[in-house]
């Protein structure tokens, strides 16, 4: 089985979010970039397929050279090879088209992407990619088993979960649950050294449609001071008469 894991390079979850250039760009100053958490669960599940079922695992990222440290980390975790599409990922439709091209040229059986990146939260790349490639697609995937050409997945739905049966080739939008958080891997020294030798191919983007443009950004208005109640009675009165929420 040949697996492609799509990796997004995102600000660490603890990052403070600021904007620059007249609030038209995300301010990367002092921000540490990491593998998108939803992708990391997918990468770890891919490692399981590699170790238990003999799969080959490639990673792909749309980004400029600055994303390579994040890609090297994914290679250090155990991916075999990397593909960097040399473009700025400003739009989900554009990114999906670039990744679809990689899938088409690479002949992958299974494509694992995170259900969304934690920066722009588009949540569209895996679904658009699957549709462009006419591959089966399961979103918000929380478990995945593959037996030959048959795949059994669990997806999270509102208020529960749904068991899905489908076949390869398959694209999934994965998330926490694909593996437990405790099973996520921290690259060891051997992995880091080996990652330096692994192939990281750089390809130029194809001509693709850009569907959206983020014109500007802003932050939520600052919060007022919390009103503290001295008793449960007072709290209930505040919620009932002032906030009118109960």
């Amino acid at each position: 089985m040949k697996i492609l894991v799509c990796i997004s390079n995102v600000p660490d979850t603890t990052s403070k979010i600021n904007f620059t250039d007249g609030d038209t760009k995300f301010d990367t100053n002092g921000v540490q970039f990491v593998i998108n958490p939803n992708d990391e669960f997918g990468l770890t599940r891919a490692m399981w397929f590699k170790e238990k079922q003999g799969a080959t695992v490639h990673i792909a990222t749309v980004g400029e050279a600055t994303v390579e440290p994040t890609m090297r980390k994914a290679l250090a975790i155990g991916a075999d090879e990397g593909i960097r599409i040399n473009a700025v990922p400003t739009d989900g439709f554009f990114v999906a088209q670039q990744l679809a091209e990689v899938v088409k040229n690479g002949g992958y059986d299974l494509v694992i992407a995170g259900r969304e990146s934690i920066d722009y939260n588009g949540g569209m790349v895996p679904g658009i990619m699957a549709t462009l490639l006419d591959m089966n697609f399961v979103n918000t995937c929380i478990s995945l088993e593959v037996d030959g050409d048959t795949a059994t997945a669990m997806r999270e739905i509102d208020g529960g979960k749904e068991k899905i049966s489908t076949s390869l080739p398959l694209v999934i939008g994965g998330q926490k649950g694909l593996v437990e958080e405790t099973d996520l891997r921290i690259p060891n020294m051997r992995g880091i050294m080996m990652a330096r030798q692994k192939k990281l191919n750089v390809v130029e983007p194809i001509d693709a449609t850009k569907a959206t443009t983020d014109l500007k950004f802003d932050k939520p208005a600052p919060k007022g001071t919390v009103k503290l109640a001295s008793s449960v009675d007072e709290l209930v009165t505040m919620l009932k008469d002032e906030a009118k929420v109960i």
């Binding site: 997806r155 979960k161 998330q175 983020d214």
Partner: protein, 322 residues
């Protein structure tokens, strides 16, 4: 050229978000000086959509569409859009809709903007405000394609009555076997309980509860309020509660009217997940807990003392109003 809206239903009844997206679509149609057509699948009482400004309902009745199938639903909505010559399609932010929307966008070569929190800022060019950076910011996004798919964030726009008369028309989309290669085998869903996605009130608890055995009082409080239950990340990591209840940046976002956080200190990732909630209430023993800085109301106290009192008080109010 109408605006098209997909109005979601469950067991033959429209979901609450159906009326919210209908209201939103009605506002978009007003800005574009056109009408709204809704697509409803296996739903009853289609005329009720008229209350929210829908003038036409394309009613699909097909057992093959029970249960939900993302590709088939996306294809039928795309077909409806072509039939109505609709270039703007409005959908919700439910798990099912977020599954189908990218497929729909790809089918129509449409720009898709999810998590939209307000009526369009402009329709020419088409610009909307959406959440980004896991609710730590907003983006003002312009859609540059002819077709557009807008995903409305839960509870962001609200339900707005705008009575009109909804004409119901049968619609039989041309579905193919290839639409059903992803098959639902089994659905495991809590029935009759509010879900985090569409609950007005969410009661959430953290490690301050000390163990899963103490969730009985959280569930009782949620029952009294008609709320959904949720939890912090450490609680789901410890296996005290299912992953589906984990609220935060790598879990679920919450956009309820009232979010009650009990024994949750308020890590930055958790606060990002709840920042779209309108009123936030914190119950915590530690007055320095970061959540107090993000909350509207709070009480410094032990959950094991405060929550039972709160349940009793709310029961009293409920009995008085019965």
């Amino acid at each position: 050229m109408a605006v098209l809206v997909y109005t979601e239903s469950e067991n033959g009844k429209f979901k609450k978000n159906a009326f919210e997206v209908a209201s939103y679509a009605s506002e978009v149609a007003k800005q574009l000086s056109t009408t709204v057509t809704a697509v409803a699948v296996n739903a009853g009482d289609n005329e009720s959509l008229g209350t929210y400004g829908i003038s036409k309902v394309l009613n699909v009745s097909d057992d093959k569409l029970k249960p939900f199938n993302a590709k088939a639903f996306a294809n039928l909505i795309a077909e409806a859009a072509q039939k109505e010559e609709a270039q703007v399609i409005i959908v919700s932010s439910s798990a099912d809709t977020k599954f189908l929307a990218p497929i729909l966008a790809a089918k129509l070569s449409a720009g898709y903007v999810p998590n939209v929190v307000a009526a369009p800022e402009s329709t020419d060019p088409f610009t909307v405000k959406r959440t980004a950076f896991s609710n730590k910011g907003f983006a003002h996004t312009q859609i540059t394609t002819e077709n557009k798919v807008i995903g409305v964030s839960n509870n962001a726009f609200g339900v707005v009555e705008n009575p009109t008369s909804a004409a119901v028309e049968s619609f039989a989309p041309s579905l193919e076997d290839a639409d059903f290669t992803v098959k639902s085998v089994e659905v495991d869903k809590v029935v009759g309980k509010a879900t985090i996605a569409d609950a007005d009130i969410v009661v959430s608890a953290g490690r301050g509860l000390k163990g899963p055995e103490n969730w009985t009082m959280i569930e009782e409080l949620a029952d009294v309020l008609g709320a959904a239950t949720a939890c912090s990340k450490p609680v789901s990591d410890l296996g005290w509660r299912p992953h589906g209840e984990h609220v935060g940046q790598t879990g679920k976002p919450v956009a309820s009217n009232l979010y009650i956080a009990i024994g949750i200190s308020g890590a930055i990732q958790h606060l990002a997940g709840v920042s779209s909630s309108k009123t936030k209430v914190v119950i915590n023993t530690d007055p320095e807990a970061p959540f107090f800085k993000a909350a509207d109301y709070g009480i410094v106290g032990d959950a094991f003392e405060v929550v039972p009192q709160l349940i009793e008080k709310l029961k009293e109010i409920k009995a008085q109003n019965a």
